[in-house]
């Protein structure tokens, strides 16, 4: 049996709509913003309309059921039902749309803002482009000493960082639920694996208040760690973050 053209068009649109919902909301677990979905659906609808009205015959076929509903006297009952439902639905939709929104303002956020070329850390002006972890070279030179440094970094982490970033470095510490934005998940391949050690040093030592202008909305709860930790403690904790997760820091050499 041939599916009527109008039903085909409706099915295509429904398929696209639910496809988005299933892929984003269910599979990826990241709820798709309503405005974005509306934009996708607008373009999809326009595209479907263009395809289905490509020539006159197709257009006629597409609108035939609608035309029949309005003009065919034998469909009178259905016409009355549809003509009652459509204005009511439109009125209801208008009513809902006119309600003021009490949803919290959307706060889009740059997760990894571009670092400034220099930053003032521990009272010194530091060139972030040239900055390297002074302890990293020990990894090759003296693996035993390096292990010791990683362990010291672990102690710093567990005393200071795990409350939010979690024992498992998965961003799910005891206090994570009370923070927005939620603490960074270092296990995720999209976080420290993408960054240089100098970047981590900058973010850790200057914290939320050290975020640059473009890192709106400046609500990170990250403390300013240069107020609490010594410089080498921060470098050690960075060693620990990479060691525990198995990620490697990005560096100029490998690119």
């Amino acid at each position: 049996m041939k599916i009527p053209r109008l039903l085909q068009a409706v099915l295509v649109l429904a398929g696209v709509y639910f496809g988005f919902i299933i892929v984003f909301d269910v599979i990826l677990g990241a709820v798709i913003p309503a405005s974005l979905l509306a934009m996708y659906m607008f373009f999809t609808t326009a595209g479907v309309f263009m395809v289905f009205t490509y020539d006159e015959d197709q257009t006629r076929e597409l609108v035939a059921p609608i035309k029949a509903l309005v003009e065919d006297p034998s469909k009178r009952l259905w016409r009355n039902i549809v003509f009652a439902i459509v204005p009511l639905a439109a009125g209801g939709f208008t009513y809902v749309q006119m309600q003021p929104s009490f949803e919290a303002p959307l706060e889009l956020r740059t997760i990894h803002p571009a670092p400034p070329s220099t930053a003032k850390i521990y009272g010194k002006r530091v060139n972030l482009l040239k900055l390297e972890n002074p302890l990293r070279k020990i990894e090759k030179e003296d693996p035993e000493k390096f292990r010791e440094l990683v362990n010291q970094g672990a102690a710093v982490y567990i005393q200071n960082c795990q409350y939010c970033h979690g024992d498992k470095l998965d961003g799910n510490g005891l206090y994570a639920a009370g923070l927005n934005p939620t603490p960074l998940n270092f296990q995720d391949v999209g976080t420290i694996a993408q960054l240089q050690e100098s970047y981590l040093f900058w973010r850790i030592s200057t914290g939320g208040p050290g975020l640059p202008k473009e890192a709106a909305p400046w609500i990170s709860s990250m403390p300013v760690w240069q107020n609490f930790l010594k410089e080498d403690e921060i470098w050690k904790v960075i060693l620990y973050l990479y060691d525990y997760t198995g990620h490697r820091p990005r560096s100029w050499e490998h690119e």
């Binding site: 204005p87 939010c164 909305p217």
Partner: protein, 516 residues
């Protein structure tokens, strides 16, 4: 971002719960290889539980509760009988796999394989040379399903002879009048049974039955299956109590991560002047998660309060906020009873609401911990008072955690508290607009106003920078929408209806003329 976080927060307990359900009664203990477990322990466990398994890792000082000392071989959450000499392997497995909600112990089930976890358990057991299986198990009899009758029977037993209420309080909020310690001499507080997310080993009735029957070793939670106990309960009675305890959590206290806005409801008459006035129920509560102040100097790691529920009402002149939070102790310095149960020096309980001085026009807000020099904040503070001095209300002008100035209840600001069965309620009211626009927030209807909260538990040594806190959330003075939406809806419906009718008629006319 928020969406992802909230989904995670919702899903994790669901997964954990399904694990718990699946694991019941399954004898699935496996042999682990302690030598392999040693390497896993060194990487994943040592930082808290210590190289020697004595719970003295580098973080021990800053964790509440402290990490378990494995050398004792005693575990709090065992399903072997109260007089058994060791826990079941499955008990250890559950603790490793699911973690301990409300503590720093995470569930490892998503990071370690089942075999890895058994290997770690084999290694952990070496610290106390635990071997074999316990001889006595809890007799569960046949489970009494929860019903209103069972819950009522459980409540009676809970309260009778002050059996459970002696520590857990008459409404289960852990508002005991006893100073509890564990076997190590560390201070412990009885569980607030109305907060299921703080139950270390789930609030399923079967788990609660297990706790009632086996007690919680190393703590003062006794076994109620012990025939020598004066407060002994039969199996059936323990099921009733378990069903009652499982019924205690109140949903409005549960944090819903997507609820970030306190919607202040407009009322036409005067705002309620008592914290317990039922008029507050006109506004629905929003509950926020509180964390310890670990951001600014001096940091504090062991805040007692973990949630706060907020409602707000306003009229043409004033705004009123009611804060509600569970606190096991009514901390009134000078009060003999309060002094006797406090941990350390007894201080006043207090709570504060923080607003920016100016409603931000962009996304930039003041620093959430008491503002900064560029963007000051105003704090409304209520303190419980002492036996000498009455409760007090104050306004703080702050530009950072160490930059605060106190103004006495200026600008018509009032605050009042009331304590009942383990819950504080504090109300604060202030005129919507004041003279001092450079220091006081001027409220506006329909604007999203950042708001944050702070709480001090005076029986837990909390004062100054030692407190619980939230990050920024929103307060909205919900404007009345008026008749506009309904008028527009009717107009749209009529217009579309008219067009349709006109279309049908003209089509009918066309077909008539075509026919003739």
């Amino acid at each position: 971002m928020m969406d992802r976080g909230s989904i995670r927060t919702v899903l994790i307990p669901v997964f954990a719960a399904s694990f718990v359900v699946l694991s019941f009664g399954q004898a699935m203990a496996k042999d682990g290889d302690g030598d392999k477990g040693e390497a896993i322990y060194a990487k994943r466990c040592l930082q808290c539980h210590g190289e020697e398994g004595d719970g003295l890792g580098p973080a021990a000082e800053r964790l509440n509760p402290p990490p378990r000392d494995f050398t004792l071989g005693l575990y709090k959450f065992q399903s072997s009988a109260f007089d058994a000499d060791l826990p079941n392997d499955d008990d250890l497995f559950r603790m490793v796999r699911d973690g301990m909600p409300g503590t720093a112990m995470p569930g490892w089930g998503d990071m370690l394989s089942e075999q890895d976890m058994w290997d770690v358990i084999a290694y952990i057991k070496r610290f106390a040379e635990l071997e074999g299986t316990p001889e006595k198990q809890i007799d569960y009899g046949s489970q009494v399903q929860s019903s209103p009758e069972s819950v009522a029977a459980g409540k009676k037993l809970f309260l009778a002879d002050d059996r459970c209420s002696e520590c857990h309080g008459v409404e289960g909020r852990g508002d005991a009048i006893k100073k509890l310690k564990n076997d190590n001499g560390e201070r412990t507080w009885p569980r607030n049974l109305t907060k299921p997310w703080t139950y270390r080993a789930s609030n399923d009735p079967k788990d609660i039955f297990t706790r009632i029957s086996a007690g919680i070793p190393t703590t003062q939670m006794p076994s109620f299956a012990d025939p020598k106990s004066k407060k002994k309960l039969s199996i059936e009675e323990r099921w009733h109590v378990a069903n009652y305890v499982a019924s205690l959590p109140k949903t409005e206290k549960v944090v819903r991560p997507e609820n970030t806005v306190i919607k202040a409801v407009r009322v036409e008459n005067e705002l309620p002047t008592s914290p317990d006035d039922p008029a507050w129920d006109k506004a629905s509560p929003t509950t926020f998660f509180m964390l310890s102040q670990i951001v600014g100097k001096e940091r504090f790691f062991k805040a007692a309060n973990d949630t706060i529920s907020v409602r707000a009402l306003y009229n043409g002149d004033k705004i009123g906020i009611r804060l509600e939070w569970d606190d096991r102790t009514k901390s009134i310095p000078g009060d003999a009873k309060a002094e006797s149960i406090a941990e350390g020096e007894l201080l006043e309980d207090a709570v504060a609401v923080q607003f920016p001085v100016k409603i931000p026009t962009g996304m930039e807000k003041p620093y959430f911990l008491m503002g900064d020099a560029a963007k000051p904040v105003t704090l409304w503070r209520w303190s419980s008072g002492t036996t000498e001095e009455a409760e007090s209300a104050a306004i703080l002008d702050a530009e950072g955690i160490d930059q605060q100035e106190t103004r006495d209840a200026a600008a018509g600001f009032t605050a009042k508290g009331s304590y009942k069965a383990g819950t504080w309620r504090a109300i604060m009211t202030r005129p919507l607009r004041t003279e001092a626009a450079d220091k006081d927030l001027q409220f506006e209807e329909g604007r999203f106003i950042p708001v944050a909260f702070f709480a001090w538990d005076g029986s837990n040594g909390e004062v100054g920078t030692r407190h619980a806190m939230t990050t920024w959330y929103w307060l909205l003075l919900k404007p009345s929408t008026g008749a506009k939406p309904i008028i527009f809806a009717v107009i749209v419906a009529l217009l579309i209806g008219g067009v349709l009718v006109w279309w049908a008629r003209s089509a009918a006319a066309r077909s008539r003329s075509a026919a003739s």
